[in-house]
Subunit: 484 residues, 2 copies
């Protein structure tokens, strides 16, 4: 098995209770009654953003609250020094931890098989559910091209479950969504010998997003250059909203209620376009390498700006000289100049794409295309939100990958064009909306949160209590200069 090298490595945080790891997870569970997540406006650092999104952490589930288990010890943050926030659990980088160290029982796997990527979520509970009534969601990504690796990974999880519990294969539930749930249905079912449920992709996306918005602290955030990662707390009044899911292509869903939605549009200019064109245009071989190049590049080397055409602003219609008038608009001329120069030097110009001249490099190309695709998605999202009268726009999907330029471009496009009337939100588990949604369509037996809500049992009371407590603390915080 070779997980995709360009993806975040397998994340099984060290605080998964295990014989080898005697930590205090139960403290964390208890603390969830109180705001584990502080509402402090402490600025999130660049390094933190890079780390917390590319390694979004697993989600701890129990009857009293769910929260993200961050893969590094710096989070969850306790900006206001909340006395109840737990920092007793040890978190550290666990990239190299492998399944042999993982002894929890996996009873439930959900996969979202897209055009380029497979997003996999599995739920594991502790072997002894009396000492820990909760469990954990763990996230993993494969390239769709490597579906066999993914199937092997699932088979491995299944085998461990059998070994630990002596249960039958039929006890393992596999929920599948995305186009590949249809395309690879037989392959998965035959390989695992378990039932595979196929779930509608769009429905799963919104179920997953609803879960993250309403249940998970430190999951949803706004982004701006001056306040890069500003978390917004879980909330209940979330409808209506626009979900913009950016994978290989882009789907835009108008969501008006828990499972009430309509696909209002989309665009074929998505992640697949960026990855495909950049793999032809640059030497980059992974998505992360492309994003890294973009970070170093200067798009003005290849883009035609308003100033390139006008020599100044076009003030009458509000176009600044620095506005991008034409993405890649400078390239054609430069390419022709390079050809002419080559010919003048007696070099053969055989009509093939020439090595580009000194005018621009791979990074410039990557950044220009990243801007072009992001801006375009942002604009179409805004227009759709205007047509459908939606103020909240959530961006999900594996395109974003926590990349700051991407989020900044999307966020700025929404803010700029709507004059601040619309709000762009991002998620740490942005790529896993569909997978989590599929997961939630059939919950494992000892799954807490949602089950509690559905049954209106004691869990709900505790949750309400927790929310009340949080609201109180937030009110207090707002008078002491901190903000949600």
């Amino acid at each position: 098995m070779s997980p995709n090298a360009s993806m975040p490595p397998l994340q099984i945080p060290a605080d998964v209770p295990s014989p080898e790891d005697d930590d205090k997870t139960q403290d964390a569970a208890a603390d969830a009654l109180h705001p584990v997540v502080s509402r402090s406006r402490t600025m999130t650092t660049t390094a933190e953003i890079d780390s917390t999104i590319t390694k979004p952490g697993s989600v701890k589930i129990n009857v009293t609250g769910a929260f993200i288990v961050d893969p590094d010890s710096s989070t969850p943050k306790n900006g206001r020094g909340s006395p109840t926030a737990s920092t007793t659990t040890t978190h550290h980088e666990t990239s190299d931890i492998r399944l042999p160290n993982h002894t929890a029982v996996v009873s439930h796997i959900a996969v979202d098989i897209g055009g380029s990527l497979i997003k996999l979520v599995y739920f594991s509970r502790e072997v002894d559910i009396h000492t820990d009534p909760g469990g954990r969601l763990t996230f993993q990504t494969f390239e769709t091209d490597r579906i066999d690796d993914c199937v092997e990974f699932m088979r491995d999880l299944r085998d461990r479950q059998l070994k630990l519990t002596g249960s039958r294969p039929s006890d393992l539930a596999v929920m599948a969504t995305g186009g590949g749930a249809y395309k690879f249905y037989d392959k998965i079912r035959d390989a695992l010998g378990v039932d595979v449920s196929r779930e509608d992709e769009m429905e799963c996306l919104i179920i997953g997003l609803d879960f993250f918005i309403t249940e998970i602290p430190r999951e949803v955030f706004t982004y701006s250059e001056t306040d890069p990662m500003h978390f917004v707390g879980p909330r209940e009044a979330i409808y209506p909203y626009l979900l913009v899911n950016i994978g290989s292509g882009v789907s835009m869903l108008k969501v008006t209620g828990p499972r009430t939605f309509e696909r209002v549009g989309g665009t074929s200019l998505g992640g697949g376009t960026l990855w495909g064109l950049l793999s032809l245009l640059t030497g980059a071989r992974t998505f992360d390498e492309m994003l890294e190049q973009a970070g170093r590049g200067d798009n003005t080397h290849v883009d035609m700006l308003v100033g390139d055409i006008y020599g100044q602003d076009y003030g009458k219609i509000g176009l600044k000289s620095t506005t991008i008038a034409s993405s890649f608009g400078r390239v054609f001329k430069m390419k022709k100049d390079a050809e002419a120069a080559a010919l003048a030097q007696g070099q053969q110009v055989d009509g093939q794409a020439l090595p580009r001249g000194p005018g621009f490099n791979d990074g410039d190309i990557a950044r220009s295309l990243l801007y072009a695709v992001s801006n375009n998605i942002g604009q179409i999202a805004l227009l759709q939100s205007q047509i459908h009268n939606l103020s909240d726009i959530y961006f999900g999907g594996s395109f974003i990958r926590g990349h700051r330029q991407t989020m900044n471009t999307l966020s700025y496009a929404i803010k700029f064009w709507s004059k601040g009337a619309k709000h762009a939100y991002f998620l740490r588990h942005e790529g896993y909306l569909g997978a989590v949604g599929a997961f939630l369509k059939r919950q494992p037996k000892n799954w807490g949160r949602r089950g509690s809500l559905d049954n209106a049992g004691p869990g709900l009371d505790e949750l309400q209590e927790w929310r009340k407590q949080r609201a109180k603390e937030e009110a207090a915080a707002s008078t002491t200069g901190t903000e949600m």
Copy 2:
């Protein structure tokens, strides 16, 4: 002077009256009182479309009517055998005719200097205005990069005017618009020694478009695969409409009255993006070569279709298996496979862009990108038209170039997404809206049409008479099975 080789060659139709060319232009002028353009539904052939748009012909102006002088003898068409339609003027390919054969007086030049192209229009009247009270608009394009060629061309026109009429340079009016009107203002003024008026780009676009819509027969048409070039006649009730001007970048203007407009949006993904990326990705060196490649290509070799992801339709939300889910979405995987294969064969893979494998060619890339850009513009135009409640969408600018796939994509996008509620229109002089608009902002002394209207003089009566006559004939035509 070397006119851009990829552009339509200099078009000075042979029927420009000259001592060497004793033709019957006056007949054509007289015939303009009657519908020179038949309203027949005769299908326009592919060859005709290619010819009539890439060589849109000059526009004959006189006090009683303007019409397009087609550069080939097959047009204007006389589908209903209109007895008044003139075919006595001789039209033939005039690519090689040079200025020495052109003895009419040029009194007026307008240039629209964009990011990639300069569009030039000049008006010429006959030396003896008593024998022919009209004149002619002639159209020419240069690459902006070759501004010096354009200036030389204008100087040549100026010198001929001086020679023919003995007038002073100040008698020649040069109207300039587009960003280059600012950027190259000094250059043009100094080189020609004439006054140069700078005119607002957006205003010129709509003045030019209004002129073409309301005044010029056989100029505006709809496009569909089954009825490729369906002309709509000049009309007066044209507002409100959306103008989508596609040059290097794209501007979208909401137009509500003769000079009442607002730039409601645009996109940086325009012609410059297509030309720039294709110049890097393929061996094509001219726009026409790129379009020609696109015509031979198959985008499904590089695009990821819904069927590639689902293995079938995604019927629940109305996505067919043939819908493009992700433009270039198949490329990343193919590129990686090609790299792996190269490595397996012991070839060095140095991280540079590899020659593409056998999976796709330049044409496939060109077609995919043409579809992507056109579809995207079509979609944004539709959304803007929905937000601003506009039913008529006019596509102008030098991107379209009469290319059938482009027009079909734009047209289909509007029709499909609006369920037929919105209408896409194209123009034969699509690239010259701004130049003609600039031209019209200061009309030469012996210019007929608009002047007549403005002065409400005899010209208006004649025009109204002509329109009445046309309306009658159209009514008659509609009862005999023909249609506008």
